[in-house]
Symmetry: C2
Subunit: 193 residues, 2 copies
């Protein structure tokens, strides 16, 4: 089922692997063109694969989104660690948040992926949200421990705030606006409790 836990001995079928790859490639294209809510039928068509195959590999829209954007999420997580090494706590946090905005601006569809990850009932999305909150929590805690930021905002809160702000998407000039708004927000976190 695409999910090859080393349970049974058989190795995954070659056609299965190939099709999964095709689907991911097609999905990336379709999502980046058609935004969230793009047709899954269209993805299957583009991948030259039956719709049933799509659903077998990715039972839900979320699952497909997550698979498509997993690479990006991983990179964000890695970036958090790098920034922690090279910057002061609050600065590192700001940088990371900006990198997120940048990414959303670049990879269309990324925002939808994040939104799904952040808004849906747990368990289902799992990977992305966990990965990102962990990374963000790391940066946030550093700044809280030094006493530079107030302690009553969680990584989840901040991540959702970021995503919420990015929803001003499509508006002209949104990128600089959102950056400014995030800065305001971080200033608010810094204002003594």
């Amino acid at each position: 089922m695409g999910d090859h836990t080393a349970k049974t001995s058989r190795k995954p079928r070659s056609d299965s692997v190939r099709n999964r790859e095709r689907l991911l490639k097609a999905a990336a294209k379709i999502f980046s063109a058609g935004g969230p809510g793009a047709s899954l039928d269209a993805v299957a068509r583009r991948a030259d694969v039956g719709i049933g195959t799509l659903y077998r590999h990715f039972p839900t829209r979320e699952a497909l989104f997550e698979a498509v954007y997993r690479r990006e999420v991983d990179e964000l997580a890695a970036l958090a660690e790098k920034l922690a090494e090279n910057c002061a706590p609050v600065e590192a946090l700001r940088q990371w948040l900006r990198a997120n905005i940048q990414l959303v601006a670049t990879k269309k569809g990324m925002l939808a992926a994040l939104a799904l990850a952040a808004h849906k009932p747990p368990d289902l999305y799992a990977y992305s949200f966990a990965r990102l909150t962990k990374a963000l929590g790391f940066l946030l805690n550093r700044a809280i421990e030094t006493g530079e930021l107030r302690a009553d905002v969680t990584p989840e809160d901040l991540l959702r705030t970021l995503i919420g702000l990015c929803y001003s998407y499509d508006q002209p000039g949104w990128q600089s606006t959102v950056t400014r708004l995030i800065d305001v927000f971080v200033d608010g976190l810094a204002a003594r409790g």
Copy 2:
């Protein structure tokens, strides 16, 4: 066409008026139950009216949303004036933002209406967004003029921020969380200019 500009002399047909009313009532129910994206077919069915009639009265989903929530928007606008009379600038602003959260919490569907108003290309939504930004602009300017808040955030920005934050909807305990986040944001606005 529901839009009776005193152009022609004929008075609007009684069945038209009745159906419009029915549709609004049905839509309020359906939207509050099914959230945004609820079926318009279902609205028509509930109103005991042909689907064509629905589309004739409200050519787009947005139009219907706006009509359904117009009353609430008007009340928010009125509230802004009342608060301005009775509270200090920043306090009035906070109160108003909280009232918004409260309203979103109460009237399900309201959030979707606001989001549509705030995210879509101008002209189309018109009424709600204009009304709200005007009200909010009024409160915001008072606080800026007294030098209590920085001047580089527009009413539109703030409104979109509010809506974006409310998107953490459905999450348990969202209401108090969003209230806290809004407070953080206002603190950020207050932090030195």
